[in-house]
Symmetry: C2
Subunit: 210 residues, 2 copies
Amino acid sequence: MALDPVGPESLDALLLQLERLPGIGPRSAARLAHHLLRVPEVEALALADAIRTVRERIQPCSLCRAPSESAPCPTCAAPARDRSLLLVVEAPGDLNAVEATGAYRGLYFVLGARLSPLEGVDAQALGLDELSRRAAHAEVAEVVIATNPDLEGDGTALAIVEALRGIGASGEREAPRITRFARGLPTGGQIEHQNASAIADAFEGRRPGV
Amino acid sequence: MALDPVGPESLDALLLQLERLPGIGPRSAARLAHHLLRVPEVEALALADAIRTVRERIQPCSLCRAPSESAPCPTCAAPARDRSLLLVVEAPGDLNAVEATGAYRGLYFVLGARLSPLEGVDAQALGLDELSRRAAHAEVAEVVIATNPDLEGDGTALAIVEALRGIGASGEREAPRITRFARGLPTGGQIEHQNASAIADAFEGRRPGV
């Protein structure tokens, strides 16, 4: 009916899909939809095509599970990487942040989530069996845990240690070293702006010399 | 190169398109992209299809310029609407808000923007020529200006009055009444929470009786 305040059907359908995105409420969805109606058609279709293409081309890497267009991904396939190091992160964004430093030349494993039993994310959902199989390879000498320095990250790190406990137990190989990213003051930060846990960690982990 | 921190090409392309959306920065774009990679494929493609469909089906209504799948839109085409009233809004969202009240049964004109000479939005960009042609129809007895009650809305309202000034000047018809939405206290609001301008407007526009 003409007096019905509901918009055109295809616009309502778009609003519905936009509202399913994380962090997008009804108002943001309306703003985005009107933007997509207003820009040149080629720009709106470029977004639609980019979504379609990313789903056609990208799969989790068969080894590290980071999003990749090839299997295995370029990082896992690169002969120059140090295969004795396996660094475990929660999310692909963490992997990118570590890569951007240029300080790490080993391999990766992306959990894709963090331990949260209340939300149904258990060792199974984190793929710890898969991590354990990768870490069991004789060439892996060290597993570096780089989960976030917070409660869920700590819980996830404990679950990883638990999952890797069996490696080397039957004597077929030595157990890999298991390490975790250091805690302390972030370089460039100021002590008075750090939270109490960060400062306590810095004291706890103090090292001789300067 | 394997040590390059850049992600897969199709993922970068998606990030680029997402960052062109209003209010979406690099962090939000990354969150949205990873969401679109993680959800079932059918859900990601539903968004892509909704964008494509909305651009295929929706055009501005040839009369009121609101987004519509038919020309003219259902509101402009409805025989029950009062064709002597033409209400001017800045955006389609304003039209929907007025429609939702059920209090208005006339026709609409959507400017699609507000006057902002510094950003290049002049009378031309607002389509005031088009509005003037519509308002010149003999059946239009009143033009109701419903631009927002703020500085740009006031400027836009003045530009509308200016654009409609010529109608009826040559005596071929009477000039239409030009009115604007009332200013005052918003029903349901509390005086102590209103800004000074709103309270001053309420005093200025006071009416006899209760």
